[in-house]
Every structure is written in C-alpha cells, then in structure tokens.
C-alpha cells in the first residue's frame, strides 16, 4: 500500500476526482478534477502547484561530497558553485543510464541529489574511502513544484523580494512564513518555475502559505496528468517511460547511454575517472546507435486518416506512454515513439521518440503508428528539435 506524502492532508481534501496513482510508494494525485485540463492551463497561463515529494533525495555532507558525485555521475561537480543547480544522469560501468536528476550545492560541503529511484544504495557502492556522509532525505523533506508564468510573483509574495533575483538553475535557502525552505529555480514543465523543499513536519504550513499567496494569481493545485503534458512539450525524458534504468533491464538492448536519450550534453568526458567513462569514450568514438528526438504528426494526414473512417480527428486528452513503432518512408521500422501528447498550447500532436541515428536530423520524414477503429495505420511525421515549447520567461 502506498503511503501519504507530507502534503496529503491538503491534497486529499482537494482531490475531488479521487484519481490517484502510486508514485515510488506514495499516493500521488493524477488530477484533482476528473479532467486535468484546468490544471494544465493553470501551469501554462498562471501557476500550478504540484506535490513532487516522491522524488528521491540524498543529502551529501563532507569535504569529498563533490568528488563522490563527480565519480558517480557524468558531470564534474567540483566546479559547481554554492547556490547552483545542475541537471545530470548517472551510468553503470557499461555507460548505460541508471537514473537522472539534479544536484544542488546548498553549502560549501553540502549537496543534494534528486532522482527517480533510490539513490543511497547506488552511492554507497562507490563511497568507500570518501570523506562524505550520505543521508537519505527522501522522507525527511516534502517538495512542491510551483510552475507557470506567475510563479515568480506568487513566490515573491510568499517568500520575499529576494526571489526576484533567483536565476535559472540557482537555489537559495529562504523562508516562507518563517519556515525554512530551500528554493530552487527548477522544474519539469519547461516554464518559469520553482521547486520548494521543506521539512516534512512543516510541509502543510508551506502549502497553505503558497496557496494563500497564489490565490489572487489564480494558482491551481496540479496533478501528474497535467505535468506529463507539460514535460512532453518541454521535451523532457521520463525514466521508466522514454528510457529504462540500466540496472533493472532484463535485456541489454533496453538500456540507453546518455547520448541515446538526449543527455550527451551533460557528460563531461575528459576529466578524472568516473563510472562508465571508458564505455562512454568508446561510444563517442564509435557513435551512438540511437538518438532521442521530438516528432510532430502531420495534422492534415491525421485528419484525413480519421475521415476515412467517418470520424473527426481524435487526440487523447492527456499524455500517452504506450510506445508505438516508428517507420521510415519505405516502411522499415527505425525506432519507437515512447510518449506523446496533444499540445493544447502549440496546437500540435507531439511525441518523444527513439530512432536509429541517421533518422534523427530535424526535418527527417518518418511514419508513426496510429490505431483508428482497432486498425493499425500510420501517418507521416517530422523530426523536430526539442524542446517543442521553450518560452523566454523560463530563463528570464
């Protein structure tokens, strides 16, 4: 049975739809209403407040914290300055991705790592000989994602004017109603947004403060269904959906390198040894086999296909994550689209896809499987650059 998050006393009262799902052993709201649309529009036009407490967290203390993180992850964190956040992934010895997440340097010798799966066991494999104390803080902190164009105004009202200065991928210790919090300018929606980390005992108070400050700005509590659409618009991969953690894969072919899931930019290859370095060097020399791309469906063809059946074009209201095959124009399978959504904002049918390199250049024409009236058909689509949606306000 899942357990409640620190915000459960509030989220459970608001979740009139009773639409919950299990997320890493916690109850998580899928959508507060029976349909997530209102929450989606709040995220894109005002602000949404998402309970992201089930994210795994580990706090590292000590003089070797940066060295350990630099050994385990693909990034050199020795240069990360206090108050900065970085996005990264970590690999097994074969250079296959185990998980992705963020590292925040909170203090001189204090870092926080977040991820989709448990972290401490993985760190412990490598921490022998390092002067570092790794603490599993997953249950100790509640986390809220405040995302959307009005997120800054709301947070300034809740936490004070210094938030105004907090730049993209920076973090600072702050207080909301006198309650100490860590605020990072990060998120999973690809928009202006913040994440607020608070000790679990005071989580509900922080929720109340943020909701109170947000009310004039039309804040909405938002669930995972709305966030899933926004993360696809933002072109963010989801562990367990768009790629699979290497140490839990039955087949080697299921595993991915950072270069194959669009995270090659995060790899600092030429530096002190790190886990997976040898294999990643070889892969760079050899060239990756797969690449992660965005695709946009041809709307006219999509509409015409449905018209053949006497149907208006139908799109799913939320994001989907049942992978479908992807073909080249000659009908050979070249990969799969792993998740997608209709973007109400962009008015486009979008998907994230893994394709063989050679079919990954923007503008490449592909065909994607579509099922209409129980019949498997396919429609044309074009490879495009991600993010699909990238507003200037995200970094401004």
């Amino acid at each position: 049975m899942p357990v409640p998050t620190p915000f459960h006393p509030r989220t459970s009262g608001l979740c009139g739809s009773l639409l919950w799902k299990e997320w890493s052993g916690y109850y998580a709201v899928r959508s507060y209403d029976t349909c997530h649309e209102r929450e989606y529009y709040a995220l894109r036009h005002a602000a949404g407040l998402i309970d992201v407490s089930p994210l795994f967290k580990a706090d590292l203390y000590g003089p070797d914290a940066a060295a350990l993180l630099s050994l385990v992850t693909v990034r050199n964190l020795r240069k990360l300055r206090v108050g900065r956040v970085t996005y990264l992934c970590w690999c097994d010895d074969d250079g296959k991705v185990v998980d992705d997440g963020t590292v925040t340097r909170i203090g001189e010798q204090h870092y926080r790592l977040t991820g989709n799966g448990p972290l401490c066991g993985w760190l412990a494999r490598y921490s022998d000989g390092f002067d570092v104390n790794v603490e599993d803080t997953s249950d100790a902190y509640g986390a809220l994602a405040l995302q959307g164009p009005l997120a800054r105004a709301i947070l300034v009202a809740a936490a004070g004017p210094e938030i105004e200065q907090l730049r993209f991928f920076r973090g600072r210790e702050s207080a909301i109603g006198g309650i100490p919090v860590l605020i990072t300018r990060t998120g999973y929606t690809g928009d202006l947004g913040y994440e607020i980390w608070v000790e679990r005992d005071r989580a509900v108070e922080v929720w109340d403060r943020v909701m109170g400050a947000g009310r004039p700005y039309r804040i909405q509590p938002a669930g995972l269904d709305a966030m899933d659409v926004t993360r696809i618009e933002a072109g963010f991969v989801l562990c367990g959906v768009d790629y699979f953690p290497a140490h839990h894969c039955m087949l080697d072919s299921r595993k991915s390198s950072p270069y194959e899931i669009g995270l090659g930019w995060a790899v600092n290859l030429d530096r002190e040894p790190f886990v997976g370095q040898r294999a990643l060097r070889e892969e760079v020399a050899r060239g990756a086999v797969w690449e992660l791309v965005g695709i946009e469906y041809d709307w006219d063809e999509y509409e015409a296909l449905h018209a053949e059946y006497g149907l208006p074009p139908q799109v799913t209201s939320g994001a989907w994550r049942d992978a479908v095959p992807l073909y080249d124009t000659r009908g050979r399978q070249i990969g799969q689209a792993t998740s997608g959504a209709w973007s109400p904002l962009l008015k486009k049918n979008l998907a994230l896809a893994t394709v063989r390199t050679g079919h990954a250049a923007p503008g490449t024409r592909v065909r994607v499987e579509v099922t209409v009236e129980y019949e498997r058909r396919n429609v044309g689509a074009t490879v495009v650059k991600t993010p699909f949606f990238d507003p200037a306000r995200k970094k401004a």
Binding site: M1, G25, P118, C120, H247, H248, M250
Partner: protein
C-alpha cells in the same frame, strides 16, 4: 479391500499415484495407451495429498505450496478444466524474537520500505537480485523443461543438445554466466552475501537453499537449491508461490481427473510388492494382495532406492548400477507438523489478521539460528529450535477449515532421518519433536498451545513408512550437484530408462528433480512415446 484391475494386461503400469506417476499416466493415456496406476494408500497424491484428518479440517499433509508445476503441463493436460485452482501467496512474513518483524510483499515499493528499516542498502539491491534470479531462472527453465543432456554421448543429437545449451549460455552476459557457475557451487549464504548485508533479510531468503536438503545455509551447493525454489512460476511470473485450493491434493486429483478422462485406470489401496523381471525384462507387477498384473512396460514413480533395491531387487541389477543406487543420497532432513486451530494464531509482534499472514511465515530469525539448527542435526538430533515454514491456507481458502477456524501447516527442518538412536526409534521421539515445534512457535504466538484442536506430527520415519519416501527425503534424493541433471538418479541412466528392459522411472528422483513440478512424469512419458517404448 482393494479393487481389482479391470483387465489382466496393460500397455503400461505406473507404480505410485503421486503427482508424477499420475502425470506420466495422463500423458500416456492421452497418447492412446492402456494405462493402470497403482497407489498403495487409500488416497491419491503421494506427497501432494489432502486429507481430512480431523472433522472439518483438510490438511496438505506433506507438500503445502506449489509453484514449480510446469505451465505447459497445465495447458496440455487441461488441468484448469479438471479442477486445478491456485491461489497466490501474498507475502513472506518473518516474525522476530525481539518483537519486530519483516514482511516482503508483492508490492515492490512496500517491500523496499520494509527492508529499508533493516538495511537501506539491501532495500535498493533487492530489485537487482530479483532481476538476476529471473535471468538465471530463464536459463534454468530451458534445462528443466527438457530431458537432461548426455555429456558422455557422441551421438549427433546429444552433441546438438549440448551445443544448444552452450549457446543459450553464450548469449548471456558474462557476469550472468559467472553468476551461474557461482550458483552451482556456492553456499546460499555466500551467494546472498554478493548482494545483501542484513541478516534479517538474508536468513529467510537463505532457507530456500536448505529445504529438503541435509545441508546448512553455509554449506556449499545450497545456492542451487535456492534457485530451484526461485524457479517456480505462476502464469509466467517467476518466484510466485501459491496454495492449491483444497490443499495440494487438489493438484494430484486434477491430474488424476485428466488421466481418467483419457481412459487411464487408477486403483487405490493397491500397493506393489515387486516388479516381475523375467530374463532381464520387466513384464508386470505383483501386488501386496498377491494379484499379478501384466504389462509390457512398468513405470515406477517411487524413489530410485525403493524402485531398484526393493521392488526390483539387487539380484536383477549389475553391481556397478546397484552400487550407484545404494550411494544415492536420500538423507531426509525435515518433518511436518499439521495443526487444527480453533482460532487465528496471534503473533505477538504483529497481532491480528492481515495480509502478512496470507503467505508463508518463516521462523528463521538469523543465519546463526539456522546454522545452529543444522549443528544439532549433524550429530543426530532434531533441532530444538528449528527452521519452520508456516502457512495458514484457511485464511485464503475457506474450503479447508470451518468458519473462524484454521489449519496451520508447519514444515520443519532439521529432523534428520538418522537420529542417533536409530531411525526406527523416531516413533518414541515423535511427540518430543512435535513439542519442540510448538514450543518454538509459541515464542512468537503465545496463545498457540491453547488453540490447538488436533496435532499431526510427521517425522522422516513417518514419511518413509506412510508415504514411501525412503529415509523421509521429500525430493526423492537430495538436489545436490552430483545428483542432478545427467547424474539423476545414476550416471548414464538419467533418461527415465533403467538397466531393466521395459522398466522406466518417472519420479522426483529423476531429472529435473523434486517439488510439485510434474516435469519428471511428463518428460518420462514423452521420452517413452518418442522412443516407441510402448
């Protein structure tokens, strides 16, 4: 009074109405052969048997859970149509003497949280361990679903078989291949040490390595037995164990129904006294009641020792073969205590009903505890504080006990067949053994003694005398490396054939071994049909 066979001549006589004998009979009958199954007891099932020993209470007298039953046997014999119903176990519960407990659930996140109370490291390694075991089971499945390869033969078919096996090994990642070799040679504890640090987790996991084996959790070779218990699958999922509705006898009866539907004749209370051998060829059996039944083929599902040394007789065997059978290790190491209870047992560490009881419950608080239990057995005593595997099937199967009352099945190890007074003195120690089990359980369930309506204690001696399991070995012979694959039951005779022409074997003492698998019976029947033996 036993019934008499309807006919005086059969294509095949199957000795023993356990699940393997019945499976062989069902396959042969399905292929159109005229088959007679002879069971000594008044009830079918052998060690997969359900009996109402106390009014209203049905016990899985010997074996008590199922998972190894081959899925293709279920399909091919249409066992679901013939009454097979399996109810999955929901959890593995480990009560601890200090008032704590560990429950492993089918929900992985819940298990992770629970294990993390003892070791965060272990809680995160558990999915990787399960994955490695799944991969190993996938490999092992290819071995247990086929007759054992013969490495001594140069016949192209045998070489191809070995080659295929080698290929499947070759396709595995290197680390998995090494793991496989380690598994064959390591102790269960050493193998678990590759992943885990917590005694509380390792102890209940390691016991899978000793069940039915006269070895300790730290003895080399027990890692394989661990895999053997992991291989079980229900509906394609490995490591899934279940209760058979109505007790494990329900499985045997479903197979018997399938056999009868195909025309097999099955007689109870028809013990076989000996196999008739004439000119080096088996041609029938003599029953305990003196009747003679003729058949061109005799198939024994009883253990190799009983088959060759008692039913056939050494006078019909070559010395070398007889010596191999004499050396074949049976060494029973376990007993069984079955209880009828007038209420639900109340564990002091976790009182009340709950899904944690709807699975198996292990009394295995630490590795040292288990090893100490083995120490006593090594020197000819039963363990004063044994490993006990408890199930309470009445919690999920209302057919086995009256409402509000329960049956409690306790598998107990160690109870060595060769106690120091001599095995024939087991009857004098039976109740003391039963008391040790109840006393051990009462440390976790304070009110247990008062709730017992009926108690059945089965020592290895009883398993031999009543169920025909030589030396009380539940697997018809230990599952150790030197008694597996092409060495089971004897080198050169792992293909269900025997040195006696017309005599075949199909019990757990043949490849791929014990447990409610049905595979020996199935593979024996298919081998016989393929080689046109009948």
């Amino acid at each position: 009074m036993s019934e008499h066979p309807h006919s005086s001549h059969y294509d095949a006589i199957v000795i023993g109405g356990g699940h393997n004998g019945l499976t062989a009979a069902a396959y042969l009958a399905k292929a159109g052969r005229k088959v007679l199954v002879l069971e000594r007891r008044h009830v079918l099932g052998g060690a997969a048997v359900s009996e109402e020993l106390y009014p209203g209470f049905t016990f899985s007298v010997c074996s008590y859970v199922v998972s190894l039953l081959r899925p293709h046997i279920i399909r091919e014999l249409e066992l679901a149509r013939h009454g097979l119903e399996i109810i999955p176990l929901e959890a593995s519960f480990l009560p601890l003497p200090n008032g704590d407990s560990l429950t492993r659930w089918s929900d992985p996140e819940r298990t992770r949280r629970e294990v993390a109370r003892f070791s965060r490291h272990d809680s995160e390694r558990l999915p990787e361990f399960s994955l490695a075991m799944t991969k190993l089971c996938w490999l092992a499945k290819r071995i247990i679903d086929e007759p054992a390869p013969d490495p001594a033969s140069l016949a192209p078919r045998e070489l191809l078989k070995l080659l295929r096996l080698g290929r499947t090994m070759k396709d595995d990642p290197t680390d998995l291949r090494w793991l496989n070799f380690k598994l064959l040679t390591m102790s269960a504890v050493d193998f678990l040490d590759l992943w885990f640090e917590s005694d509380v987790l390792k102890a209940p996991m390691s016991v899978s390595g000793i069940i039915g084996t006269f070895l300790g959790v730290r003895s080399p070779g027990t890692a394989y037995v661990l895999l053997h218990h992991y291989m079980g699958e229900i509906d394609g999922a490995f490591r899934a164990w279940g209760f058979s509705k109505g007790g494990t006898g329900g499985i045997s009866l479903a197979i018997a129904n399938a056999a009868r539907a195909h025309g097999a004749e099955i007689l109870e209370q028809s013990g076989v006294e000996r196999v008739l051998v004439h000119g080096g060829k088996a041609n029938g059996v003599v029953l305990e009641n003196g009747d003679t039944v003729r058949a061109s083929t005799v198939i024994s599902s009883v253990d190799p020792n009983r088959t060759f040394l008692r039913l056939v007789g050494e006078e019909h065997l070559e010395d070398e073969f007889a010596a191999q059978i004499r050396r074949y290790r049976l060494r029973g190491s376990s007993g069984k205590v079955n209880l009828a209870l007038d209420r639900l047992p109340e564990f002091s560490c976790r009182p009340g009903d709950g899904p944690h009881l709807h699975g198996d419950i292990a009394i295995a608080p630490s590795i040292d505890y288990l090893e100490r239990a083995y120490d006593e057995a090594k020197y000819g005593d039963f363990s004063e504080r044994p490993y006990i595997n408890v199930v309470i099937p009445s919690l999920v199967d209302p057919t086995v006990a009256p409402p509000g009352k329960h049956v409690m099945s306790c598998f107990v190890q160690y109870a060595p067949y060769d106690i120091k007074e001599g095995p024939e003195h087991w009857p004098e120690r039976r109740e003391a053994f039963g008391d040790a089990v109840v006393d051990t359980l009462a440390e976790y369930i304070p009110g247990l003694r008062e709730s017992i309506l009926y108690r059945q204690v089965l020592t290895p001696w009883d398993l031999e005398q009543e169920f025909g399991l030589t030396e009380g070995n539940i697997f018809h012979g230990e599952l150790s490396l030197d008694q597996l694959l092409f060495l089971r039951p004897a080198a050169g005779w792992a293909r269900y054939r025997t040195p006696i022409e017309g005599l075949w074997v199909c019990g757990s003492g043949t490849h791929p071994g014990g447990g409610i698998m049905g595979a020996p019976g199935e593979l024996a029947a298919k081998t016989m049909l393929q080689s046109r033996a009948l």
